[in-house]
């Protein structure tokens, strides 16, 4: 735990992370503030189902992207730090140095990922609930973008969505750490991971409807299995236009396996790097 804390202290010294936090707070405030007016207006007329349907879209609209941004900014330097500061050799000379460092970095990354999703979830959901209250919160979900029917209440489904986001975020975390270990350069890692995420978003919102035939199927499959698909909650439909709630275990099992596989690959890369 002490090593995890020292990783946290190290991360606290990264200036870009603080810039990232400030930008996120600013943009999140603006987005929540502009969305609240509309929500308040709908709630005044008593259309609470419509309100909860809007709240369901938070992750797809901006929370998913902010999570990705904070992960990329916060974790990219973590794996490159020793190489950039030229202390990697020193770590290797200590008994179990690489293994302990790896464990500390992974431990910190997981805690950071959970913290990011929790804070963003609490802030967005909390601010919306503060406006419309708990009216309609415990009523069953009447309309859902990703599933045909959901056997949960509105509030429970929103919380479950953040659970889905967390799984996608863990998947993305593994990817960032792998890229950082391979490139050993912070800015290149930020650019590659951020660029891939943005390219996936462009595909989702701009290119998807332009593609036809086999190309469309291939791109759709890649997007479905990508971390962006899971963070935007699109992949939980599991290749269907409207997903079945009974089949939701399939993407969950996939994303868990993929994350475990990523961390296994990361360990192999880290060990190999420590040996050379």
């Amino acid at each position: 735990m002490r090593l995890v804390l020292s990783e946290a202290r190290k991360q606290r010294s990264f200036r870009e992370t603080w810039v990232g936090y400030l930008l996120t707070i600013l943009l999140l405030f603006v987005l929540i503030y502009t969305g609240l007016g509309e929500l308040k207006y709908v709630a005044e007329f008593g259309y609470f189902e419509q309100c909860w349907f809007t709240i369901q879209q938070d992750i797809r609209s901006y929370v998913g992207t902010f999570t990705a941004f904070l992960l990329v900014i916060g974790l990219s330097r973590l794996m490159c730090y020793e190489t950039e500061q030229k202390t990697a050799g020193l770590v290797s000379t200590a008994a179990h140095g690489p293994a302990l460092t790896w464990r500390a970095k992974i431990g910190f990354s997981l805690i950071y990922c959970i913290a990011v999703v929790t804070v963003l979830g609490v802030v967005t959901l909390g601010s919306h609930v503060a406006i419309i209250g708990f009216q309609g919160a415990f009523a069953p979900v009447s309309e859902c973008l990703h599933f045909e029917s959901v056997p949960l209440s509105n509030l429970a489904y929103c919380i479950v969505q953040y659970g889905f986001l967390l799984l996608g975020a863990l998947y993305f975390t593994g990817f960032i750490l792998i890229v950082a270990t391979l490139t050993k350069r912070t800015s290149l890692t930020i650019f590659l991971c951020g660029g891939i995420y943005l390219a996936s978003l462009c595909y989702q919102f701009v290119i998807e409807h332009r593609l036809r035939g086999l190309t469309s199927q291939i791109c759709k499959a890649i997007f479905q299995f990508s971390f962006c698909g899971f963070m935007q909650l699109e992949s939980y439909r599991w290749f269907e236009w409207v997903g079945q709630w009974e089949n939701v275990w399939k993407p969950i099992v996939f994303v868990l396996l993929a994350t475990v596989l990523e961390f296994a690959v990361l360990w192999l890369l880290w060990r190999r790097r420590a040996k050379t």
Binding site: V19, L27, E84, F205
Partner: protein, 239 residues
């Protein structure tokens, strides 16, 4: 200045980003030719709106501005700073060399898009005046790209940290792609995000909403950043 310019061209990432941009354009042009034949040339002229501007953004933020924090990252800055031409003249040369490299990249993309469009759309009739309208969009995109590069480079020089500059300049640049121009009105913050950071110009479009204000704003933005750079450099004894 020639050496600095040469350093930009020597970076393999410079060519990788341009190559990737043109590869994406080739795939999109192929798909447009196959499925959206009647709109092929219209979409080709729209190159700067999406593929071209994104490539330019990637190029500026990933490759070009890194030179302004490179010495600090490599810890060679104190040595360079101690030389007679290693202070403001080096910074100035880097800005001019970078500007020239941005213009060269823009011309490569311009030529690449024309080549790809002629190659893949040779069976579709080209509308009259297409080359002129695309050339006009390219000139606007080049002006925007140079402005965006100057501002990002100076921010990178101020922070002496590449990721911070990427964050500060990249986030507003990227977010403006997701803001619908029809849904924003002048005093809105999203209106400011959409037009405030050269993105509209990099996308090869003139700003229809309050153009005089934005003209003054862009000049003020560059001058203000330069003022802060000079002040910071004086503080650090780097001038």
């Amino acid at each position: 200045m020639k050496t600095e310019c040469y350093q930009y061209f020597k970076n393999p990432l410079y060519w990788v980003v341009i190559g990737l941009g043109l590869a994406v354009r080739t795939v999109l042009a192929y798909l447009d030719g196959r499925y959206r034949g009647p709109q092929f040339w219209e979409l080709a002229a729209d190159f700067w709106n999406k593929t071209g501007s994104v490539t330019m953004g990637f190029l500026i933020l990933l490759v070009m501005i890194r030179r302004f924090s490179f010495d600090t990252e490599l810890r060679t800055f104190p040595i360079i700073n101690s030389t007679s031409y290693g202070r403001f003249s080096l910074f100035w040369n880097r800005l001019i060399g970078g500007g020239a490299a941005v213009i060269a990249a823009g011309l490569f993309l311009y030529a690449g898009n024309i080549g790809i469009s002629f190659l893949l759309g040779n069976k579709i009739d080209m509308p009259y005046g297409w080359t002129n309208s695309f050339s006009c969009a390219t000139v606007i995109a080049l002006v925007g790209s140079v402005g965006y590069f100057l501002m990002s480079a100076m921010i990178c020089d101020l922070a002496k940290n590449h990721p911070i500059a990427m964050c500060l300049c990249g986030l507003p640049f990227a977010s403006s792609y997701f803001i619908n121009a029809g849904a924003v009105s002048p005093p809105d913050i999203f209106w400011f995000l959409r037009y405030g950071l050269f993105t509209e110009l990099v996308r090869g479009k003139t700003i229809k909403s309050f153009p005089a204000f934005w003209f003054v704003w862009y000049i003020a933005l560059i001058e203000l950043t330069l003022f802060f750079v000079i002040r910071k450099r004086k503080e650090r004894k780097e001038l």
